[in-house]
Symmetry: C2
Amino acid sequence: MGALLVVMLATAMMLVFSMAAIDASRSAPYRQSFCVTWRFNVDVNNLRDWKTVPKSCESYVGSYMNRGDFSQDASLAMMEGVSFAHSVFNSSTTAGTDAFSYNAWVFDIDDTSLSNLPYYAKHSFGAEAYNDTLFSAWTAKAICPPIHATLDLFNSLKDLGFSIFFLTGRSESERNSTATNLLGAGYSGWQGLILRQSEDEGVRATLYKSAKRKSLEDLGYSIVGNVGDQWSDITGYSVGSRTFKVPNPMYYIA
Amino acid sequence: MGALLVVMLATAMMLVFSMAAIDASRSAPYRQSFCVTWRFNVDVNNLRDWKTVPKSCESYVGSYMNRGDFSQDASLAMMEGVSFAHSVFNSSTTAGTDAFSYNAWVFDIDDTSLSNLPYYAKHSFGAEAYNDTLFSAWTAKAICPPIHATLDLFNSLKDLGFSIFFLTGRSESERNSTATNLLGAGYSGWQGLILRQSEDEGVRATLYKSAKRKSLEDLGYSIVGNVGDQWSDITGYSVGSRTFKVPNPMYYIA
C-alpha cells in the first residue's frame, strides 16, 4: 500500500515536472516593458508601415533617444563600420593610391548623419502624426546636429581614402540648406550629395535609393559600406558589401 | 563695471550652454550594459561572422533567453506574421479554395521553430566554441521543444490554408529525426521539409536557402512569408513578401 502511494506520487510529480519543462518558454512572466519589445521589432524590420509611435511608448522612446542608449547602440554599429573599413583598406592592392577612391560609402542623412532629435523632442518623439510643413521648416533651418558616432565613421573613412556619398530622400530644392547643414555639422570632404530629382518624386525610398546606388556602380564605384536608419536605406539592390543600421524608433519610411 | 561683469557672465554662460547642447548626444552617460548594445547590434545584422557570445555577456544572454524577454520579442514578431497572413487571406480572390494553397510560408527550423535552448543552457548560452559532435548528438535525440510563438503562427497559417515548408541547414541524413521532432513538438500538416542534399554541403546558408526558395517559386508557389532567426534565412533572393526575424543572441550563421 505504501509502495503504491510512492509510485503514484512519483508519477504525479513526473507529470507536473515534464509539463513545466514543456511549457517553460510560455509560462515565463514577461519582464521587459511592451515598449522595449516594440522597439526591438521595429529595428529588426518585423513591424512595418507604422504611422506613429504608440502613445504609451512616447516617454520610453524619449528616454532611449536622450539618455545615452541610442548613442551607445549607434556607437557600436559605427565602430563595426570603422573596423570593416580598415579590413577593406588593409586587404586592398590600391590602398594609398588614387585608385582606392573607387571604393565608396553611402550615407543616408536624416537621423543617420544629422539628428532630427531636437525636432522630434518637441513632437512627442514620433507619437504624433508627421507634419510635412513643420518638419520642412525645421530642416530648412539647417541646424541639425551631427550624430557623433556617424561623424566619427565618416572621418575615419575620409582618412582612409574612401569616396563618400550622401543619398537622401530630401528634394533637389533642399540642396543648399542640406549642404550647409552637413558642413556646419562637421561633414566636409564628401564626394557627392544625391537628392530626389523631379522624376524621383513619389518613388518608394527602397527603389529610389537602389537606383541611385546602381548609378554609382555604373560610374565605376564599388559600394563597400551603406549606412542608414531605415531598412529602405539598406535593402533593395546594390546595397553594398556591408550595411549598417542606425536605430530609429521614432518613424518609419518604406 | 557691474554691467560689464553681467555681459561677461552671460557670454560665458551662453558658451557653456551652447557647447552642452552641441555635445549632448556624446556626453550623455551610457545607461544600459554593453551586452544590451551587443545583442541589439547582433539582431539588426550590424555585427557579423562572430564566433561566440562575449564571455562577459553569458549571463545576460541566459537571462534574456530564459526569463521571458525572448518569448515576448518573438511573440510580437509572430503576431505580426498572423496579422499579415490574415490581410493576405482577406484580400485574396482564392481564399477558401484549393488554389489558395499556392501561397506558401517558409520556416527555418533551429531556434526558429524548434528551440535548442536546452542544449545551449548547458553550453554557456553560446559563449563557448561550437561543437558539431555534441550539437548533432543533441538534435539526433529529437526532443527540441517548440518555440511557442512560432507554433502559434504555424497553426494560424494552416487554418487559413497556406502551404508550409520547413527549410533547414540540417542534412538529408537527419530527415527522420527532424520530422519526428517537428511532429512531436506539435508541427503537423506541413507541405515539405527541405534539407541540404549532398550537392548543397558547403554552400553558404544565404545562397543555399535562396536557391531552394527559388525552386519553390519555380514550382508555382508564391512565398508570402519567411521566418528565421538568422539573417541568412531571410536575405538573398526570393525572400518572400514579408520576412520575420526571431531574435537569436546565441550564435551566428552566415
